[in-house]
């Protein structure tokens, strides 16, 4: 309880309340995350259970009763009679799951490597940061595409659809660790010369304990900011890969896959199959992005 009241009285929360953009972005993000979490209970149908689909419902217009069955779908249906609202909820689940997992993976990997590089210095530092520099020369999306391609080549064809989601997480995570490594390394270089670290060394704590228990907590502020901004980028990266047809498979469609499917119906006038997933993706990416921007400004001591 104390932690909650502390947070409510904190500087950060005060700033948050005073920024309408941040509050709005937070509400939109929270709504989308909650509806993804509770998708099975909110969605009118399970769009991936063939038993609940009726082909006669195909291409129903949003909000109008279908001409054959008379059923009404709020956001319409696609060619196979799947309710677009339901596919968006399930797609959101995949998009958010991949985005969160990829950022977590990048954060853990990047922070550990950054800590080691900054704390040990010398040759280890040079090797880690040189690899980071080389990777940074190439756009993240290209790195992710390449990792996805290699992983696909290694897995046997019959498993490819099953592991696609995990490969996606691996590819996006590996394309994004450099940011975290750089920030944590920079903070570690500053922290390791401070007195509390010297004191910890003197009382004989192991380097591992010093790194994880003493230095790491002091680098978490900037890591949190980068994680939020990376989340928006990871969601867009996932959507892009899935749109290109090298991400989430049609059996587990993410928002990107839905947009890819919807693009095919653009010319025949069934705009809703494309429009609503695209709108959802935009709302999600934009609000997470705004939240990240706000957090960066709020935690930046120079702007206080």
């Amino acid at each position: 309880m104390e932690a909650v009241s502390n947070f409510l009285a904190s500087d950060l929360f005060y700033r948050f309340r005073k920024s309408p953009v941040a509050v709005l972005a937070f509400i939109v993000t929270a709504l989308l995350v909650l509806s993804a979490l509770f998708a099975p209970w909110i969605a009118p149908q399970n769009p991936f259970d063939p038993g609940s689909l009726n082909l006669m419902n195909g291409f129903s217009e949003p909000g109008k009763p279908n001409q054959f069955t008379g059923e009404t779908f709020m956001l319409g249906t696609d060619d196979q009679g799947r309710d677009v609202f339901s596919t968006i909820l399930y797609g959101l689940r995949i998009s958010l799951f991949v985005g969160f997992s990829a950022v977590m993976f990048a954060m853990v990997l990047g922070s550990v490597l950054g800590l080691i590089a900054g704390y040990t210095g010398g040759r280890t530092d040079t090797i880690i940061m040189r690899i980071a520099d080389i990777q940074l020369t190439f756009p993240a999306i290209l790195v992710a595409l390449l990792i996805f391609g290699i992983a696909k080549g290694i897995t046997p064809p019959s498993y490819r659809d099953e592991v696609a989601i995990w490969v996606l997480i691996l590819a996006i995570g590996l394309s994004d660790w450099v940011q975290f490594a750089r920030v944590v390394r920079g903070a570690t270089l500053v922290e390791r010369n401070k007195e509390y670290v010297q004191a910890a060394k003197l009382i004989g704590r192991k380097p591992m304990a010093i790194m994880l228990k003493h230095i790491l907590p002091n680098t978490l502020g900037p890591v949190l900011v980068i994680a939020t901004i990376s989340l928006a980028l990871a969601i867009i990266a996932e959507a892009t890969l899935s749109f290109l047809g090298v991400g989430a498979p049609p059996t587990q469609p993410s928002l990107g896959t839905l947009i890819r499917i919807g693009q095919g119906f653009l010319f025949s006038g069934e705009y809703w199959i494309l429009l609503y997933p695209a709108g959802t993706l935009l709302a999600l990416a934009l609000s997470v992005n705004l939240l990240g921007d706000w957090l960066r400004d709020a935690l930046n001591p120079k702007l206080k």
Binding site: I134, L146, I150, K152, G153, T240, F267, L282
Partner: protein, 327 residues
């Protein structure tokens, strides 16, 4: 200066060797090359013979050096899917991507500088604020959504421009160009805008902030005091001094334009190298993937190197501090 140049060149070569190693490992360890070459009815003797022919029984470093030698001579292997040399396929596809990238870069530079100057000079005007706000939304839109949006407006609703392909092309030597036919010119408009929009915004914001800074400088005040016309001040003095960072950023962005062409080419089914790469990933065509990786790396490394060296040419102040840079 010379020491710096030599070190940068060595660094670049090191990066390329590393990329070569990755590409080579892809060939060697992802999928079995022998499996891909021989059909179902193969004997153990066949396998051994092919392994020997391909040099797969050589020690790893020997294989790597041979691979690099082949790559340097333009021999990038044979596509698993099309059964033709990769270099031939890429040479056929390259003009489409290069033309698209060139037009996008031109669009980004011309409109980026133009709008940047405009928003800097009229900084409190309604139009300038409007452009700045829309550009912010434009940056947060994923590229493929911008492409789809443009297709929806200009191809589906208005019907002015084609939504896919290159239109008619004319062959000049080995180069097929879309610049000489009306349908080719029409076809390049939407993809070029989609691809160049992000870079345009970047250049616009950069020019704007640099201009605002320069316009506050003393020599601009003196130029005003001397009675020079506003046009001469804005374009002759202010814009000229903002161009150094603009050139570097533009240079560095050329690589990104070619990399992001993958997305644009998929949206518009543009028959370029990027679309080739995506298809290669979908069908696990390793030689094409590896060749694309190597080509694009050479380009990135070269661009970075040239931009780094250009700094010295453009800004003589850096030569003095050369020994402290580049770590």
């Amino acid at each position: 200066m010379l020491a710096y140049v030599i070190r940068r060149v060595f660094q670049s070569i090191f990066v390329l060797l590393m990329v070569g190693l990755v590409a080579f490992s892809m060939f060697r360890f992802v999928g079995d090359p022998v499996e891909n070459l021989l059909g179902q009815e193969r004997t153990q003797a066949d396998i051994e013979r092919v392994r020997d022919q391909l040099g797969l029984n050589d020690p790893f470093p020997v294989q790597y050096v041979k691979f690099l030698g082949n790559a340097l001579q333009g021999n990038l292997g044979v596509s698993y899917r099309q059964g033709r040399p990769v270099s031939e396929i890429i040479a056929e596809r390259a003009p489409a991507t290069l033309e698209l990238a060139g037009v996008s870069a031109l669009f980004a530079v011309v409109f980026g500088i133009g709008l940047g100057v405009f928003t800097a000079i009229r900084r409190d005007g309604f139009m300038a604020n409007f452009i700045m706000t829309t550009s912010l939304i434009g940056v947060s839109l994923p590229t493929f959504l911008i492409g789809i949006l443009l297709i929806y407006i200009f191809a589906v609703e208005l019907g002015w421009l084609p939504s896919f392909g290159r239109g008619e092309t004319v062959k000049i030597g080995g180069w097929s160009t879309g610049f000489l036919t009306e349908s080719g010119l029409k076809a390049i408009i939407l993809p070029a805008i989609t691809l160049g929009l992000y870079q345009m915004t970047l250049i616009m914001r950069l020019v704007r902030s640099e201009m605002l800074e320069v316009l506050r400088a003393d020599y601009i005040k003196f130029a005003r005091a001397r009675g020079l016309s506003t046009r001469a001040i804005n374009f002759g003095h202010a814009l000229k001094n903002t161009l150094v960072p603009v050139i570097t950023v533009t240079g560095l962005q050329i690589g990104s334009i070619i990399a992001f062409a993958i997305i644009t080419e998929t949206v518009f089914q543009w028959p370029g190298v990027g679309l080739l790469f995506i298809n290669a990933i979908q069908f696990v065509d390793i030689p094409v993937m590896a060749a694309y990786l190597m080509l694009i790396s050479v380009m990135f490394v070269l661009i970075n190197l040239i931009v780094d060296l250009l700094y010295f040419v453009i800004d003589p102040r850096l030569s003095a501090g050369a020994s402290t840079r580049g770590h």
